[in-house]
């Protein structure tokens, strides 16, 4: 196969793909629906039903005089209070999640690149190192960071010794939260980027050199575009859970300046009768993320997501 054909295949030219002969339409549609059934059932029971339930709860009203009891209603004030009272929390969530996504990208790209092209026999070991944190629970890992970053822990001690810590402590600051988010979601960024880089044909990159492009230009015009599906998937997989996360803020964050996930948690668990507002907040968060993702994918999207 010529490398020209490779290039056009990577670019997604449909002409190169062999077209399968069309089977009998009748038979095919039945099989397709049957194959869809488990997925549709799954989505119906575990996604649509809870979503409808959440929507119903988000419109309920508190029962006056009975803590923790509700009645069915169309109380859109829940949404109003979610948007007005907690707008700063939403902004903060998106800011921290955005920062964490950016930082994770900065760390993950070179790592994935090294794993795909430079690691050689170390590749499997590096892969294990990236995936290993998943063997322990998310909470435990975050809790471990709260110990590492503690006032009398190693990080704070070194920074204090160097007089690099103006506030005197690193835990219970937004910095610790963003660091925690970056750490926790890093593998979700590394793996998709690695997957798309690993699939790239090194000969295409060589061709860049053959055509007198320098290293940087080759990276910019050949390697990076080829890895865009991975980058897109990685940023989504990092940003979406990070924006809704509350554990990092709870364990590493300050008392003031919470994220929206904490407010939802608090309304569900600590406020008797907080369910409707918590549900409204969840819905608003979901809608906001959906809108952002939609715009993002339209702007940067490619045909294939990994």
């Amino acid at each position: 196969m010529s490398s020209l054909a490779q290039v056009s295949q990577v670019a997604g030219d449909p002409a190169v793909h062999p077209t399968a002969p069309a089977p009998e339409t009748e038979k095919r549609s039945w099989t397709a629906y049957l194959l869809l059934l488990p997925g549709v059932l799954w989505l119906g029971v575990f996604f649509i039903l809870p979503l409808v339930q959440l929507a119903a709860v988000s419109l309920q009203s508190r029962f006056p005089g009975f803590p923790g009891y509700y009645y069915r209603d169309l109380n859109f004030e829940n949404y109003l209070s979610a948007l007005t009272d907690y707008a700063p929390h939403f902004a903060r969530s998106f800011l921290y999640a955005g920062l964490a996504t950016f930082l994770a990208f900065v760390v993950a790209y070179p790592l994935a690149y090294a794993m795909a092209f430079k690691a050689g026999r170390w590749r499997n070991l590096m892969m294990i190192c990236v995936v290993a944190p998943f063997f322990t629970s998310f909470i435990l890992r975050t809790f471990a960071w709260s110990q590492i970053l503690a006032d009398e822990g190693p990080v704070a001690a070194v920074l204090n010794f160097l007089h690099l810590l103006p506030g005197g402590h690193i835990i219970n600051t937004p910095v610790a939260v963003v660091a925690g988010l970056t750490y926790n979601f890093l593998p979700f960024m590394v793996l998709p980027i690695y997957a798309s880089l690993e699939r790239a044909d090194p000969r295409v990159i060589e061709a860049g050199g053959d055509l007198y492009a320098n290293g940087f230009t080759t990276f910019r015009t050949v390697t990076l575009p080829m890895s865009m599906p991975g980058v897109l998937a990685g940023t989504l997989l990092t940003f979406i859970p990070a924006a809704g996360d509350f554990v990092n803020m709870e364990l590493l964050g300050p008392q003031r300046g919470k994220m929206v996930g904490n407010v939802i948690n608090d309304q569900f668990l600590a406020v008797p009768g907080g369910y409707p507002v918590a549900a409204a907040l969840s819905f608003t968060l979901m809608a906001a993320i959906l809108a952002m993702v939609f715009l993002y994918v339209r702007r940067f999207g490619t045909d294939e997501l990994v």
Binding site: L49, V52, Q53, A55, A56, V57, L59, Q60, S61, R62, F63, P64, G65, F66, P67, G68, Y69, Y70, Y71, R72, D73, L74, N75, D85, S146, Q147, A150, D151, E152, G153, G167, G168, H169, I171, N172, P254, Q255, R256, G257, K258, N262, V263, D266, Q267, F268, L269, A270, V271, P272, G273, G274, Y275
Partner: protein, 416 residues
């Protein structure tokens, strides 16, 4: 015997009592949430229907079959640092002895970090009639009141618990939320006050205002239990927290706490996990519970950990053992409750947890174990001690206040 006066709760006001009575009726969160799908699909039909008052007559309780005879097991949810432990903190000597004596295998877990979060976690399951895999849970008075009102715990057979009947301290025999103690048995009582490390702070802390010093900025942790934290602040602001105050006084205290968080004095507002902040050194002082600080001193082998009641006063509360409504090991649970009301056993626990012991006769047993501790006002407080230190119980809130105050606390202090 050392009676603890002023422990008994004020009875609910008649309207509050009527409300709580009605609330134990048929309406449940599950019933309302359970119709969510209908609500979702039939929104247009249901519209803004006015609330239907919860139906009156309490449904008869169906207690699950007690399998205690067949299954010699018991699962107990409790708070951190709340049971005697051996050196390595892996086993409790009194619990081991109980298991030997009865052949019941007890699983002890420190599940409860905070009343609200524990209740929010288990209440929906209990209302749905599901097992929470626990046979005893231990919750504070006001939450025990809610659990009993919502019929989420089983009635107890006092006749099976002779030690409890004869040794429960007189003032605790008739509490407002559980007259005659038919649903709950006191585990321990305790105080909220100032806990701090004398060496790290470098001086003695005597008043609540001593916490707001510039050299302690950012090294203070306070309790997420608002009856304790706001209670202490209100006392410092000159409020008698046992009666005669309302939303204005409460909000004033919250504004004060909010200010201290914003100015960076208070580092964190936490449940029982505040002990981790004290251990790790993130905090050196705070509003804490009495026994925890003694346990901390023992665990860290640092005698500088000190607990004191601020000059303006402290709070007194009790935690209560209850059997969840879906537990199938009620008899086993009752045997355990009765066991811990043996004065000798109670003294052993008290010597470790350093909380107020609710068992009559434990002080005499403590004389044999540790004469110093038998004199400790933190375990066996006298009436004078309570009165002299202005130790009070936070007044009972009615159902509406319960929501309103929790809401205020959540928005102003907990999450912002």
């Amino acid at each position: 015997m050392t009676p603890i006066p002023r422990r008994a709760r004020r009875p609910l006001s008649p309207p509050a009592a009527a409300l709580t009575q009605a609330a134990s009726g048929g309406l449940s969160r599950r019933a309302l949430l359970g119709t969510g799908l209908a609500a979702g699909t039939g929104l247009a039909l249901t519209g803004c229907a006015p609330p239907e008052p919860p139906s009156g007559g309490a449904a008869s309780l169906d207690l699950p079959t007690d399998l205690s005879d067949k299954e010699k097991i018991l699962k107990w949810a409790n708070w951190t640092a709340y049971l005697d432990m051996n050196g390595k903190e892996t086993k409790s000597p009194t619990l081991e002895a109980f298991m030997q004596k009865t052949g019941i295998k007890v699983t002890y877990s420190e599940d409860v970090d905070d009343n609200d979060s524990y209740y929010a976690k288990v209440a929906p399951q209990l209302r749905a009639g599901q097992s929470i895999d626990r046979d005893i849970f231990t919750l504070t008075d006001w939450m025990a009141s809610r659990v009993i009102r919502d019929q989420l715990c089983q009635p107890l057979e006092l006749i099976q618990m002779p030690n409890v009947v004869s040794n429960l301290l007189q003032p605790l025999k008739d509490v407002s939320f559980d007259p005659g103690r038919t649903h709950s048995i006191t585990w321990q009582s305790g105080f909220a006050g100032i806990g701090y490390n004398k060496e790290k702070v470098g001086r003695e802390l005597k008043t609540l205002d001593d916490l707001w010093a510039d050299d302690l900025k950012g090294r203070i942790v306070v309790l997420s239990e608002f009856r304790d934290t706001a209670g202490l602040v209100m006392q410092a602001q000159g409020v008698d927290i046992e009666s005669g105050w309302g939303k204005a006084e409460f909000e004033k205290a919250l504004d004060f706490i909010e200010g201290k968080i914003e100015d960076g004095y208070i580092r964190k507002v936490k449940g029982n996990s505040y002990m981790e902040d004290l251990t790790s050194g993130n905090a050196v002082a705070g509003i804490t519970w009495s026994g925890d600080i003694f346990v901390l001193a023992y665990d860290t082998e640092d005698p500088n950990w000190t607990f004191t009641i601020p000059e303006s006063g402290g709070t007194l509360w009790s935690d209560n053992m209850m059997v969840p409504i879906t537990s199938t090991h009620r008899s086993n649970a009752q045997r355990l409750m009765d066991y811990y009301y043996d004065p000798a056993v109670a003294a052993q626990v008290a010597a470790w947890v350093n909380y107020v012991c609710p068992v009559d006769g434990a002080q005499a047993e403590m004389e044999k174990l540790d004469p110093d501790l038998a004199e400790s006002p933190w375990i066996f407080p006298t009436a004078e001690f309570i009165a002299d230190n202005n130790i009070q119980s936070f007044r009972v809130l009615d159902a509406d206040e319960d929501i309103e105050f929790a809401d205020l606390w959540s928005t102003k202090v907990m999450g912002n």
